[in-house]
């Protein structure tokens, strides 16, 4: 797998640093005829919980300037159905498979991680823990906004998994570095950020919210500057690999994140606009490296000059 684009994300070896962000690429099969599933760094599948759940009432999406507000509400088929029905298709491809995990209690998160350890979970190369979910015990506040609650989830998952563990951070906090430090201390092998920014939109004629859930999460080009700033902050705060996510739709966007300190990137909303975007970004990064005579992508990571 040694090539100029290969990266090591906390023990997870990827053929290139380009992954698909959770919730924007289904289980890979949806894009089978649109991208070469052998060429991605990793596919991060739609968030999975211990039990299936139906998700939020529609409308679930609304477009806003340069962005997308979504309130899917973590509609999910459950880890069991994923391992039985979806993983056998995805596992044989050269792209790594990462399971995005969520739950309402630390135990629920841990149960998903444990299920992935079974022999039939061999095709799962790593876990990404989404700590933006409401913490049932703490009255529905997200686990990801308090260092202690975030660490509690990560500890619970760490105990049950031998796989590389990525923790996905929410941007809806005042200081992301505190959360990043807490999850790394609790055993995270890498952090990814950002998840969507909390937002809303209103129909002035009906004076009703445009989303069935009233509020939703903002993604797409509109959030890129915020994501970039947070990735830069997190990369300086922790010494595990940081994965940049948020508004990436070109190789130039991805390179900005890498220069800011990201060891890899995830592409989300751009898969909707241009399903072939991941292939274009991989090719674009490769040509940038050769144009700049950079031998290996790792030589570029965190090379931001602020002088």
């Amino acid at each position: 797998m040694e090539n100029s684009l290969s990266v090591n994300i906390g023990g997870l070896l990827l053929q290139n640093p380009v992954m698909t962000a959770s919730g924007t690429f289904g289980f890979g099969r949806e894009f089978e005829s649109l991208v070469d599933l052998n060429r991605l760094g990793a596919v991060i599948v739609k968030g999975l919980a211990r039990e299936p759940s139906p998700g939020n009432p529609p409308p679930r999406i609304v477009e806003t300037p340069c962005g997308l507000l979504n309130a899917i509400g973590l509609e999910n088929i459950g880890i069991e159905a994923f391992i039985k029905d979806k993983l056998p298709f995805l596992a044989p491809y050269a792209s790594a498979v990462i399971v995005n995990v969520y739950g309402q209690t630390p135990e629920a998160y841990a149960a998903v991680a444990q299920r992935c350890e079974g022999a039939d979970g061999d095709g799962i190369d790593g876990l990404e823990v989404n700590i933006s979910c409401p913490n049932v015990k703490a009255g529905g506040v997200s686990f990801g906004v308090a260092p202690e609650a975030a660490a509690e989830v990560v500890c619970a998952v760490r105990e049950k998994t031998t796989k590389p563990l990525i923790v996905k951070l929410t941007p809806n906090v005042t200081d992301v570095t505190g959360i990043a430090e807490a999850v790394v201390a609790a055993g995270a092998d890498a952090v990814s950020l950002i998840n969507t920014l909390a937002g809303m939109a209103i129909d002035i004629n009906s004076r009703r919210p445009k989303l069935g859930n009233i509020t939703g999460g903002l993604s797409g080009p509109a959030i890129k500057p915020v994501a970039l700033r947070m990735v830069w902050e997190a990369a300086r705060a922790v010494d595990v690999p940081v994965i940049g996510v948020g508004g990436i739709s070109t190789a130039e966007d991805a390179l900005e994140f890498i220069i800011a300190g990201a060891a890899a990137v995830q592409i989300g909303t751009a898969n909707f606009t241009n399903p072939g975007v991941t292939m274009e970004v991989i090719d674009g990064i490769r040509s940038f490296l050769s144009r700049e005579a950079i031998g290996h992508i790792t030589e570029l990571i965190g090379t931001l000059s602020t002088k």
Binding site: G26, P52, F272
Partner: protein, 269 residues
């Protein structure tokens, strides 16, 4: 399903705020079903962000050879405004064919087609498919309705195919004054269709499906929701679907055409 760059063959007004656009896309569309759709994006435009879904209106053939597809669209917002300004020869990004279309079998002999406004877009293709499958064209009726004459589209196309047409407008500026559902009810007084197919605004679909249900006639409706991906990945196009395990179906892959009996349309308007 595939993503490709098609050439705009023509793009011309077809009524008030309505246009027909011809696209030179690949032969995968030659096997498309009526009711399937494609999503479009103008490659030079960064706004709007999301691709926009449009039904296949007609296949374009020249001497029997497949050339592409035609889409019938209404200018309602940013994307359709920009699309209406795109000249022939320009390139457009098209993803399709997507979704599940209308059921067409040789056993359907006397269906009723019901279209409200721009909802007529997939109905021309449907009528062609039914005729190809062996339906005698004068066995079928199409009820076309709209607010005014401007919203009643494609009547000559159906007449040329030999379908019976019933036209209504809410302001009486064309056809009978009234709603398209009244035309359907009227037709049912002395006909018994073997299928009702409908496309249009949700309140209309709700009314049509109730009429069909009362008479015990199978009914298929084509539903519109906002879509982000169009391929089943984002789960954004959810609709209450009583037969779906989770309680929600997804319009882009389970539809856009659904058996009306399984949907709960009432709470959507």
């Amino acid at each position: 399903m595939n993503q490709e760059t098609a050439e705009i063959l023509w793009n011309a007004p077809a009524g008030a705020s309505v246009y027909r656009i011809g696209l030179s896309c690949g032969s995968e569309y030659a096997r498309a079903d009526a009711g399937q759709f494609a999503t479009l994006r103008l490659p030079e435009e960064s706004s709007p962000l999301l691709r926009r879904p449009f039904s296949i209106h007609r296949l374009i053939r020249n001497d029997g050879e497949f050339q592409g597809i035609e889409i019938l669209y209404k200018r309602v917002g940013e994307f359709t405004r920009k699309l209406s300004q795109a000249p022939a020869g320009r390139r457009i990004d098209i993803l399709g064919p997507l979704g599940k279309g209308f059921t067409v079998t040789a056993s359907i002999k006397r269906p009723a087609l019901v279209a409200g406004g721009i909802g007529v877009a997939p109905m021309v293709f449907l009528a062609e498919k039914l005729i190809q499958a062996g339906m005698a064209s004068d066995g079928a009726v199409i009820c076309l309705g709209g607010r005014s004459a401007d919203d009643v589209l494609c009547a000559p196309d159906f007449q040329a195919m030999g379908l019976k047409t019933r036209i209504t407008s809410e302001d009486g500026s064309i056809g009978e004054k009234g709603r398209v559902t009244e035309a359907l009810s009227d037709w049912l007084k002395d006909h018994s269709p073997d299928m009702v197919y409908a496309c249009g605004p949700v309140p209309m679909l709700d009314a049509v499906s109730k009429i069909a249900e009362k008479q015990d006639i199978a009914c298929e409706v084509s539903i519109e929701t906002v879509m982000a991906c169009g391929v089943g990945a984002c789960l954004g196009c959810a609709i209450k679907d009583t037969r779906h395990q989770s309680g929600y179906g997804h319009v882009c892959i389970d539809g856009p055409v659904f058996n009306a009996a399984r949907l709960e349309l009432t709470d959507r308007h």
